[in-house]
């Protein structure tokens, strides 16, 4: 019961409304359980079908069905032309993908993890992000760079970095970070249809997690707008802002805190750049308290940016206490399980921070 309630909450109000409309058939929610992996797969499948210019390239995306099986079945369905296995040459194939976008195609360039995107980061920033500006609008680069970002489990320091802050620093790029299946599918479809370079940060630990997806989100034209945050759970006492996997942690913390009478408003950023600061401000002006939660390192991170923006905007005057950032520990990721667990925000850390911020 508790699980399905949580699922309700996580999929937002939509599932309930749909259930209401379809009430004469059955009383259960009308959505289906879809994992984030399958949602991403559906998004790519639908967009490959919809537009011939769309194609996927990356390591192991074709015959291996994707290193994390996200592109399962796509090569079989679409063939060598639309789903391309590349050699291990990130800088080379990222550049090739960008060039193909300049010449009229709409590539999806997969990095096996975003850690490897560092090999190719020049192509993402200098060749993709800046070109529309440098050419004063003559040359667009409609490309999506996607792949898992941030910590996984037991993969240690070189494979666990979060790149949200790095990419979101740069004008000309859109940076998107989905949490659940609806986010994943809708945002990926929007990213593919967007005429700009989009960095699409997935999370490996979320791939296997199922979420309720509404009937509406099953439609082939369902998209989630880039640049708009979502209130996953309304509340009055404090605002929690997060992205990707930690939205789930925030909701878990909110459930625990609700028992103690503290109602948290949980905002799922969905897009890191351009950030929907207005939604955060509106929430803070209601709750007067703000905690940001992320997996990345604290310095110059997403939370740091939110703090700065809140201070510069109208919401500052509504704060009853300074903004609190909950982040990953400022160290390279260790391997041992206990050390790793303690390198990232846990639900208890969020609860602790909320209480400290509220001074309770």
């Amino acid at each position: 019961m508790a699980t399905s309630l949580r699922c309700f909450l996580r999929s937002g109000k939509k599932a309930v409304l749909v259930a209401g409309r379809r009430g004469f058939q059955r009383s259960a929610p009308a959505g289906v359980q879809v994992t984030v992996r399958d949602a991403l797969n559906q998004a790519m499948d639908e967009e490959l079908e919809r537009d011939e210019r769309v194609f996927l390239m990356g390591e192991e995306v074709a015959q291996y069905d994707g290193a994390y099986k996200v592109s399962r079945g796509l090569w079989k369905k679409y063939g060598d032309k639309r789903v391309i296995d590349t050699p291990i040459s990130e800088m080379g194939f990222a550049g090739i993908a960008v060039g193909s976008a300049m010449a009229g195609l709409r590539p999806i360039c997969e990095f096996m993890t975003f850690n490897f995107s560092m090999q190719a980061i020049d192509q993402v920033i200098n060749s993709a992000a800046k070109t529309y500006y440098m050419s004063a609008g003559l040359q667009a680069v409609p490309i999506v760079f996607r792949g898992p970002n941030g910590a996984s489990a037991g993969v240690a320091a070189q494979h666990s970095q979060c790149f949200a802050a790095w990419y979101a620093h740069c004008p000309g790029l859109k940076v998107v970070s989905p949490w659940n299946s609806e986010d994943a599918k809708g945002l990926l479809k929007s990213a593919i249809r967007d005429d700009n370079p989009v960095v699409f940060l997935e999370n490996e630990l979320m791939y296997g997690v199922p979420f309720e997806m509404t009937e509406e989100s099953q439609s082939k034209d369902f998209t989630v707008p880039i640049g708009k945050a979502k209130i996953e759970r309304p509340g009055n006492h404090i605002t929690l802002v997060s992205h990707s996997r930690f939205v789930g942690h925030c909701l878990d913390a909110a459930a625990v805190l609700a028992k103690e009478g503290i109602e948290c408003e949980v905002i799922n950023l969905r897009t890191i750049r351009p950030m929907d600061v207005e939604s955060i401000e509106a929430s803070v002006m209601k709750t007067n308290h703000l905690v940001t939660v992320e997996g990345g390192w604290p310095q110059f991170g997403v939370g740091a940016e939110i703090c700065a923006r809140i201070m510069e905007g109208p919401a500052f005057n509504y704060l009853d206490s300074p903004v609190t950032r909950v982040t990953g520990v400022d160290i390279p990721m260790p391997y041992a399980k206990t050390l790793e667990e303690n390198s990232l925000p846990q639900v208890k850390d969020i609860i602790f921070s909320v209480k400290k911020t509220l001074n309770v």
């Binding site: 590349t86 550049g95 529309y132 440098m134 004063a136 351009p274």
Partner: protein, 447 residues
């Protein structure tokens, strides 16, 4: 004297592709004279040969046409009076044989040139030359700022390549891009105005020297070597769309050691992309000569499993024939090909480099006097009576006026307005708020 001659000899050897060997002054003089005779056109009587006209594979309306008007038959060289009396309408010239890598046969060693195309080549190369020299002037007057990498000396490369491809083919190069920006269709006016950062510039003043774009011309790229994977990607798009187009992807001798180029070679060969990789070897990567930078200076062989050609980049006909050969290779579905154009730049690496700390003035002078692409073309045409000295002078005058007018525009056109500051961050988007220098500065970005 001996050291000077040795330097000249070395430079010549690099240019001619012959092996460097210690030479006595007399040997050197013999070498020089040999070389001179190779580049000077042979006497007119030996020249005209009856050859069937080459198939008109490419035609570019704006630039050069390879169609010939010459009727078949012996004595074809004897000219029927045309617009200008007594001009040879077409001639055939010996061109240097290309060194080949993994190729059974190379481009032809004789090239046809019509009067029309010759004059067009002259016009194109002279325009680029004058435009670059004007840019030099404007830079010294501090009207052009920042980076300015000039192309004078290398004109034959841009002109020859453009003659071998069509406007629907694609081209991408690095930062020494003004010549290609012109041959790909942007006017001198728009180029100079971009260099001076005015709103009439091809990128509205937002890009500058290294970031100019045109249809099927992808710049102008500032990061050394990054344009090579981009070019292969453009070729991938051509293959994907099945449009029989090719992409010419240029890089320099300095960039030739970049890792991403080898990653690109691998993928281009693996997928048989219709990509012509062209290394413009002007002997120096900034201030580092080729021997000091590369374990192997045979840049046409660096593609390893990709066939390659080494071409005399100072001879526009040689470049044209080689580029045509390369384009045919790609269009036939044989995959990529590498071309090394041996060329030379008169200016230093950029305007902040006088260009004489790592090479001698004598070397530069030698190339200018013996090997200048424009002079070579002019001499060929004059000695085979394809045009008159007066015609060339007339063309020079027209070009001078064009460049002067363009410079005038580029110094008088206003800079882009401040309202443009934040525009073109994103494409096809509704207007976006952009954070200015401080929180009270709310700027707007329009797509």
């Amino acid at each position: 004297m001996k050291t000077m001659l040795a330097i000249i000899s070395k430079a010549l050897c690099r240019i001619t592709g012959k092996n460097v060997a210690a030479q006595s002054p007399s040997e050197l003089l013999i070498d020089l004279s040999e070389y001179v005779s190779v580049t000077a056109p042979p006497p007119a009587s030996a020249q005209a040969r009856h050859r069937p006209p080459e198939p008109a594979a490419v035609s570019s309306e704006r630039l050069v046409s390879t169609r010939t008007d010459r009727p078949d038959g012996p004595g074809a060289r004897v000219v029927v009076a045309r617009k200008f009396a007594d001009f040879t309408p077409q001639a055939t010239f010996d061109i240097k044989k290309c060194d080949l890598h993994r190729l059974e046969a190379g481009p032809p060693v004789r090239a046809e040139l019509t009067r029309e195309q010759g004059l067009q080549f002259y016009r194109t190369m002279q325009t680029v030359r004058r435009m670059e020299l004007k840019a030099d002037q404007l830079y010294k007057q501090k009207i052009i700022r920042g980076f300015c990498h000039l192309y004078d000396g290398q004109e034959a490369c841009a002109a020859g390549i453009e003659a071998a491809i069509t406007p629907s083919d694609h081209l991408i190069t690095a930062y020494r891009a003004h010549g290609y920006t012109y041959t790909r269709g942007v006017s001198v006016k728009q180029i100079l105005a971009e260099l001076t950062g005015r709103k009439g510039g091809v990128a509205k003043g937002k890009g500058g020297s290294m970031h100019m774009y045109a249809p099927h011309f992808y710049g102008g790229n500032g990061i050394v070597g990054a344009q090579v994977p981009l070019g292969a990607g453009i070729a991938l798009a051509c293959q994907y769309q099945g449009n029989n187009q090719v992409c010419v992807t240029l890089y320099g001798d300095g960039a030739a050691n970049q890792g991403q180029i080898f990653e690109t070679f691998n993928m281009a060969a693996l997928w048989k992309l219709p990509c012509i990789f062209i290394c413009e070897n002007n002997q120096y990567g900034m201030g580092t000569s080729v021997e000091r930078a590369a374990a192997s200076t045979d840049y046409y062989k660096r593609g390893d499993f990709i066939p390659g050609l080494r071409v005399d980049g100072m001879d526009v006909l040689c470049v044209r024939e080689a580029a045509k050969f390369a384009a045919d290779h790609c269009r036939a579905g044989k995959g990529p090909i590498v071309m090394e154009l041996q060329t030379y730049r008169y200016h230093g690496h950029s305007m902040s480099d006088p260009g004489v700390s790592y090479r001698t003035r004598e070397e530069i002078q030698e190339v200018r006097s013996k090997n200048d692409p424009i002079s070579m073309l002019k001499e060929r045409m004059l000695s085979s009576k394809m045009a008159s000295a007066e015609e060339f002078k007339e063309i020079d005058t027209e070009i001078r006026k064009e460049v002067d007018d363009a410079a005038q525009f580029s110094t008088s056109d206003p800079e882009p307005p401040l309202e443009d500051l934040c525009n073109h961050v994103f494409c096809s988007d509704p207007p976006l708020d952009v954070r200015g220098v401080h929180p009270w500065s709310r700027l707007k970005s329009v797509s």
